[in-house]
Symmetry: none
Subunit: 411 residues, 2 copies
C-alpha cells in the first residue's frame, strides 16, 4: 500500500517564476484526501542532469513519485530523456504511442508536425499511459523505491490523466482515504469564522483547518477512516454555527447551489452587468446544465447599452450616475423584463484602477435584485484590491446575495 | 558573485495542497530578473528531519539558498530548529530579536503571548534580519556552499524582507540582470512554433524558451546584460517568422492589442455570447479603460434571449440550430446593431460535457464577426478539453480573430 509520495514539476517556466506551479498543489490535495503523506514537492529547470538527479533523489524514500511537465514536443522538454538517464535505459519509439498521437491529431483536425513524433519516444520498460486530452502520452515505471508516474504539464491534461491512471491505481493499492468534510461560505472572513468556532470542542480524532480563496472561505474537518462518527458529530456542530452563512458542502459550488434553489421554485434568472462585464454570467454558467435556470442577460458596459439595449432611463443615469443603487435597481428590473426571467440581478461599480471619487471610491459596487414582487439594492465596498479581484469578488457577491434571498424565502 | 540559487518552502499547508506556494514563484521571478539561475524549488512538511535534510541537500550545489515559512510561534513551525540541526549548533535566545518582537507588538497594540518568545530563539552564529511587517525575525547564515536566507511565509512579510535584506545583498554581490523579450501568439501550437523556428540561428549569448497557456503561447528570448545587441537581432528574426501571428510583445495582452487597433480606427465593439456566457466580454474588459472601445453586449444563453433581446429570427434557429455559422452570423449582426457598435462579434458552441452530437460534437464553436461592410463566420473544434477550457479558449479565439481582421485591414 502506497503511504508516502513526492511530487516533482519540470520546467524553466517554474524555476524562473514565469508560471505558478498549481499542479503540485492539485496533486498534493488529492493525495492527502487519499491518506498519502507527501514528503515534499520539488521542481527542476529544463536541465537533463539536474532533473535526472532530482528524480533519483526523490524516489529514494517514498512509495510514489509523480512528475508533471516536460513531455512536450520541443527541445526544452527533457523529462523523458531524464527518466532514461535516471534508469540507465535508452529511449525507443513506441508504435502504440505514435498511433495515439496520430489519433489525437485526427480528433482535433490538425496536421501532426514532425516535432510531435518526439513524443512517441519513451524510456525502455515504461508502461504507456494514454492521454485523451493532449498529444503527450504519459508513462509509469518503477524508479528507486517508488512507482513513478509521468504526466504532462497542462493542468487539464494532468487532471484527466490522474483520474484515468493514478487514482484508480491508488485505489487498487488499497489506500486508506482520509475523511474530510468541507463547509463553504462566501463573504465571511477567516477571523470571523475562527471567533465563531473558537469554543468548539472537537471530538478526538477530528482536526480542523481553513482554506481561503476570497471572497470564499472553507472550514475543513478531517480525520482517519475510523473517525466517521466523531466527524459527523463535529459536522453537525459546524453547520449549526454557520447557519445561513453555509452556502454549500464538499464539492458544492455557489452557482450549483443557486441553480438548485432556482430550480426548486421553477424560476429562471438573468443578469445585467456593468463593471463585471459578463464575469457573473460566466460564473453562473460554470455549472453544466445551467441553461435550465439561467437565461442570459446584458453586458451593459457603456451607458449607451444601459439606456438602449437595457432601457434604463437616461434621466436616472443623469441624476444618480451609473454607479448607484438607483441604477442597479433599474438594471435588475430591466433585465428581468427583457429576458423574461423570474429574477433579475445587476452589478454596477468601480473596478479601478481609475474612475473613483471621494464619494464613490474604487472598489465600490452597487447590486440590484429584482424578484417577482420586490426589488432590493445594496452597496458593498471591496476596497483597493486590484481590478481583477474587485470584479471577481463582485460577481460572486451577486450570486451569494441571490442565494441568501432564495434561502430566506424557501418555498 | 552569486550565480545559482535554490528556493525552499516549509509547511504542511503546502505539502497537503491547502495553500498554493506563491512565494517560490515570486522569488524565482525576481532572481531570474537579477541574473541568478534557480536550480530548483522544493518544499517540506512540518517535519524536523525532512526539513533539515532538505536544507543540507539544497545548499550543496548553489550560491544562494532562500527559505520561506516555518518561523511562526506555533509548534508546527520547525525551520529554526531544522537550521540548528543542519548546522549542528544550538539555538539561543537573542536579546536583540526579543526586543524587535516586543517592539512589533507595541506597534500593533496587542499583548505579546508567551509563544511569541520562541521566535527570539535563533541558531548560534546566524545574522538576525529585522522583520518590519510581522513578529517573526528572519536570519541569514552560511550553510553548505550557500549563503542561506530564512524569511517568514506570509507573502507581504516575505516581500518587505526581501526588499530590505535580500535584493540589496544581491546588488552588493554585483548581480547582472538578464535581458528578456517575450513574443505572444494565440491559437498557434507550441509544436508549430517550434517547427517554424527550427532553423533559426540564435546569436551567441541568446537563449530561447516557450511558455504555454492555451490558447496562448509565448516565445521567450533571453540573454545576459551584454547581449542587448544580439538579442535585438534575434527579436527581429522572431518577429519576421511570426508575421501576423504575433499578437503582442512583453507585457502586451490580447485585449489590449484589440483595444488599440479599434481605437486607431475610432471603432467600438459589442459581443453576443452563448456558450461563453460573458467570458469574452470579461476578457475584453480586463484592460482598464476598455470602455473607450467596448460597449457591452448580450449574453444570449437561452434561445429566448437570442430571439427576444437579440432579435435572431426564430426561423433561422429552427432551421440551422443555435450552434451554426448561420446563427453566429445573425448574432454578430444583431448585437452590432443593438449596441450601436462598429463591430459585432458572436460566439455560440457546445462547451459540454453534454449536448454534443456526431455532427456537432462537444468542443465545436461557431464564431461570427460583423464589420461595417461585411460579416464573416467560422467554426473551430476545440476537442474534448473540459467545459472551462473550451469556454476560455473560445473567448480568446473570438478576440484573436477580430485582431487578425483588424491587422489585415489596417487603416
Amino acid at each position: 500500500m502506497a503511504k508516502t509520495a513526492r511530487i516533482v514539476a519540470q520546467g524553466d517556466e517554474i524555476t524562473t517564476g514565469a508560471t505558478l506551479d498549481t499542479n503540485s498543489a492539485w496533486l498534493a490535495e488529492r493525495l492527502f484526501d487519499r491518506g498519502i503523506r507527501v514528503l515534499g514537492t520539488a521542481s527542476a529547470p529544463d536541465d537533463l542532469d539536474l532533473l535526472a538527479r532530482l528524480l533519483l533523489d526523490s524516489s529514494r524514500d517514498c512509495d510514489l513519485l509523480i512528475s508533471t511537465g516536460g513531455l512536450g514536443p520541443t527541445t526544452d522538454d527533457v523529462t523523458t530523456e531524464a527518466v532514461g538517464k535516471a534508469l540507465g535505459v535508452p529511449l525507443e519509439e513506441r508504435a502504440e504511442a505514435l498511433e495515439q498521437i496520430r489519433a489525437r491529431f485526427r480528433v482535433i483536425g490538425r496536421p501532426m508536425t514532425p516535432s510531435n513524433r518526439k513524443q512517441a519516444l519513451l524510456p525502455r520498460g515504461t508502461a504507456l499511459l494514454e492521454n485523451p486530452a493532449g498529444t503527450a502520452p504519459g508513462f509509469a515505471v518503477d524508479l528507486g523505491r517508488a512507482r513513478a508516474f509521468f504526466f504532462p504539464g497542462p493542468p487539464h491534461e494532468l487532471h484527466v490523466m490522474a483520474d484515468r491512471h493514478l487514482f484508480p491505481w491508488l485505489q487498487e493499492q488499497g489506500s486508506a482515504p482520509l475523511l474530510r468534510r468541507r463547509f463553504h461560505v462566501c463573504g465571511v472572513g477567516e477571523s470571523v469564522l475562527q471567533d465563531r468556532l473558537a469554543d468548539l470542542a472537537l471530538p478526538a480524532g477530528v482536526r480542523l483547518g481553513y482554506k481561503t480563496w476570497l471572497p470564499f472561505n472553507s472550514i475543513l474537518l478531517y480525520g482517519e477512516t475510523d473517525a466517521a462518527e466523531p466527524l459527523a458529530r463535529a459536522a453537525i456542530e459546524v453547520r449549526a454555527r454557520l447557519g445561513e452563512d453555509l452556502l454549500g458542502e464538499d464539492d458544492e459550488t455557489l452557482p450549483q447551489v443557486v441553480g438548485r434553489l432556482l430550480l426548486a421554485r421553477g424560476w429562471t434568472m438573468a443578469l445585467a452587468e456593468s463593471c463585471t462585464a459578463g464575469g457573473a454570467a460566466a460564473l453562473a454558467t460554470e455549472v453544466p446544465g445551467s441553461s435550465a435556470w439561467f437565461k442570459g442577460g446584458v453586458v451593459a458596459y457603456s451607458n449607451d447599452v444601459k439606456t438602449g439595449l437595457l432601457g434604463v432611463p437616461a434621466t436616472l443615469l443623469a441624476e444618480h450616475g451609473a454607479v448607484s443603487e438607483e441604477c442597479a435597481g433599474a438594471m435588475a428590473e430591466a433585465v428581468r423584463r427583457a429576458a423574461a426571467a423570474d429574477v433579475g440581478v445587476s452589478i454596477t461599480g468601480i473596478a479601478g484602477p481609475d474612475g473613483g471619487s471621494p464619494q464613490k471610491p474604487v472598489g465600490l459596487v452597487c447590486f440590484g435584485l429584482a424578484l417577482p414582487h420586490a426589488t432590493s439594492t445594496r452597496t458593498v465596498r471591496f476596497g483597493i484590491r486590484g481590478r481583477d479581484r474587485v470584479r471577481s469578488m463582485a460577481a460572486a457577491t451577486a450570486l451569494e446575495w441571490l442565494r441568501r434571498k432564495l434561502v430566506a424565502r424557501s418555498p
